[in-house]
Symmetry: C2
């Protein structure tokens, strides 16, 4: 990184700052970001009593679990609490300051944080590099350096930790449900994408460990978060949405180490010229050459996905079948279906995605023959026919899970056929619990199926609406 | 088609049949299939009083709107109605017979239909070519020829006509909701796929005209349905799921004619070797070489989609913007978003799908500047920022719809941001009603957004959960 200095100040002042400032590259120890994620005493600079203001939403989210000191020089009381004029007025030690004031005021309040010896600041405010405001950006950077402050942001959504119960996200819990505790952590340069994924996870009953939206990455960047999560015992799967990798060499180095232990799933924004240009005005990032990025991700051993849906689905597969994944050797899929056309679509997608249709052992075929109409074809796809019952599904599932020729079962369940009912959920759930092989379900998502799907998801099943999305995710999962 | 004869009969009998039989190729006049879709007097052969049996479900669905004569020699009464021993006992004229008996019995009851001068039979029963039962298949074929009977099926789900209120589908209305009247018709070789699409259409408030699941296509085939729907004033958009095209030359000829008038959207099952093999045991189809099929579809001017989701989404776009489509000249998309990351993802997908990001006129940019934060970048994607209000969305939408440089608006609405609310639905709906340009919406589909999405769909909006699915569908739509 090239060292830049604040050009608005006279030379002597600049010089002093440079001497005082620590090296720009932030060093992260194992506990390096615990100061953010495990913070208990917080200052919220820009706390507001006006409903829907960022400083109000944050305040409400934070006070549920943490000790929060609201800072706002223009008011005296916020929700019955004393409002401080500045952090310097607060007597207690502050683990992290969260800043949500106008961009122009940010360097000044960071200066105060520095004086108060606050070492971790989360800056929500936007209007810096992404808005072409380089001058302000430099001023903030210098200020952070001067006091050796670690900073998440600016121009971000905030952070979340399901284990320490820290909710420093400026979206209301009413509009954006938070996921429960789980093993996926998510590093997102974009707040909106992060928010969307959080909401989808909550909705689909997928747990989270930590979430960080880091925006412009003025000092801490994706490498720091990756390193921290790599060492985090509460994280097993790491999802990343990134527009720009700031330090390719360090990312490669850390990424390689982390990917050996934990799957890293990456969606890179700005892979095209137009997307790249858009990234520039979003987080001030130069998104760079797509091939170089793909190369880096491949070298690391990260799983690169092409779209938002896959980022979510692949993470979900790793979440549910994390232990099982280590045991899977091949990529032989068995399709079980009660609709022939779905079997064909699945087979097409499996071949297209360079996966294999497994060949059932003769024992499995013989076992199944007894329970199928005489003219039924017991193969792969295995069509259980329109007169399929819960019991026939159970037999098929058990047989395929026990068959050494199969690595994963793709289970199509069309609730249109009359002889299956809600009890099938329990059968699938039991098969899932046996954890012999991953089971991936394809099911329509219409009125009749909605509650069934929800129950399945509560029971830790992975459910897709369309076969093509399921197979694409399986391909990334088994790769 | 090669003429085949029933090899089980003595030569003389065979000869007589050949002389008696009409030419095998079924000729369809404009009203050719009205005998099926507009049938009022129906015989249901294999009607059943046992709940969940196909013959019972069909009976319940049909009697709501039609005159149905149940035929079942083993019982006297079905749901308080007299059950006939055979169609020959029925005195009334029968427009269509629906057959749901064991495969072995089918030729015999078709023979009886022939004697009763029934010209249209819909055979639900399976167990013919798809089960390797060639002998039975030939027998049925000969019988149909002998009496010059048009046949849909065998091995199919049935047919549906929202205009004549004919529900000859063997799935319960409870499990599979039927769509309302609309302009999309759907020809599906697979019953399960057809059923799934019907359910999704009903759920997403998309209307249907006619639906036919035609299974093995023993005499009527995809060409006949395509020709009929091409002439059908109640159909504007035709969706096709096909595994095998039986008569490529005729399909080409009819397809070319129809595609000039109406968009034909085709999903071809069995595009890969494995899928092809699966198709053989599904509907007895040899799915053939993928490139040849793609070539035929291209020559026709059909829109080939690669997956089930796109079949549905592209049809939905044509349904909603059918008239507008004729006026669109280019493929310049304007992205409006309240989440920067979503803008980048959209831009990436737009470039990947060879669409263009339009360049707003300077007038539009000037108009928008007044209502945006000073540092906001008014471009494409247009990021309305996290503090976006309903009003700012309205201004942006109106400006882009009036801008001659833009062909279609891709509108991302993330309800996480606090200052927009349900009233935005009305703003979008008004913009949609103006029908200046197609508006395609991307919105999360979580708890908070669910009812909003439903209201939008009731108001004829097209809503996607993920940007990549939206852009892929737009690409096929604007192609």
């Amino acid at each position: 990184m090239k060292k830049k200095v604040n050009k608005t100040k006279p030379k002597t002042a600049r010089k002093r700052e440079i001497i005082e400032s620590k090296p720009e590259k932030v060093k992260i120890s194992k506990q390096g970001l615990d100061g953010f994620f495990k913070a208990e005493n917080l200052a919220l600079i820009g706390a507001s009593h006006e409903i829907n203001k960022i400083g109000n939403v944050l305040f409400k989210n934070l006070i549920k679990t943490k000790t929060v000191f609201p800072v706002n020089p223009n008011i005296d009381v916020i929700m019955n609490r004393h409002s401080f004029k500045s952090v310097l007025e607060i007597e207690d030690k502050i683990d992290m300051a969260i800043i949500a004031v106008k961009a122009e005021l940010v360097p000044e309040v960071v200066e105060q944080c520095g004086k108060k010896k606050i070492k971790n600041v989360l800056i929500i405010s936007s209007g810096f590099a992404e808005a072409g405001n380089e001058k302000l950006n430099e001023k903030l950077k210098n200020c952070l350096e001067k006091y050796d402050i670690k900073c998440i942001g600016p121009n971000c959504l905030g952070i979340y930790d399901a284990y320490s119960d820290l909710d420093a996200i400026f979206l209301t819990q009413q509009r954006l449900k938070r996921p429960t505790q789980g093993k996926i952590s998510f590093i997102s340069q974009s707040g909106a994408l992060g928010g969307a994924l959080l909401g989808t996870m909550a909705d689909r009953k997928i747990g989270i460990s930590k979430f960080v939206s880091y925006g412009n990455a003025i000092n801490l960047n994706e490498c720091d978060y990756l390193e921290y999560l790599g060492n985090d015992p509460e994280t097993s799967v790491i999802c990343v949405y990134v527009e720009q990798i700031k330090d390719g060499k360090r990312f490669l180095e850390i990424g390689k180490k982390v990917a050996k232990e934990k799957p890293i799933i990456v969606l890179k924004g700005g892979m095209t010229e137009k997307g790249n240009k858009a990234a520039m005005s979003h987080t001030g990032s130069l998104a760079g050459d797509a091939r170089i990025y793909s190369g880096i991700l491949k070298q690391i051993g990260a799983i690169q996905v092409d779209n938002l849906e896959d980022l979510f689905s692949v993470a979900n597969l790793f979440d549910k079948f994390y232990e099982l994944k280590k045991k899977i050797k091949g990529k032989k899929i068995q399709v079980i279906t009660n609709g022939g056309g779905y079997g064909i679509i699945c087979a097409d997608q499996i071949e297209k995605n360079k996966l294999e249709l497994g060949e059932l052992s003769s024992a499995t075929v013989a076992k199944m023959k007894k329970f199928m109409p005489t003219f039924a074809n017991i193969g792969n796809p295995m069509d259980l026919m329109g007169d399929v019952t819960n019991e026939r599904y159970r037999l098929a599932l058990d047989a395929c899970l026990d068959d050494a020729n199969i690595d994963l079962v793709l289970l199509v369940v069309l609730y249109q056929t009359p002889l299956i009912n809600q009890d099938l959920v329990e059968i699938i759930s039991q098969a899932q619990k046996s954890m012999k092989k991953p089971i991936v379900i394809v099911m329509n998502n219409n009125e009749f199926e909605e509650s069934i799907k929800e129950t399945l998801e509560e029971k830790e099943a992975v459910v897709f609406e369309f076969p093509e999305d399921a197979v694409r995710a399986i391909q990334k999962f088994l790769r």
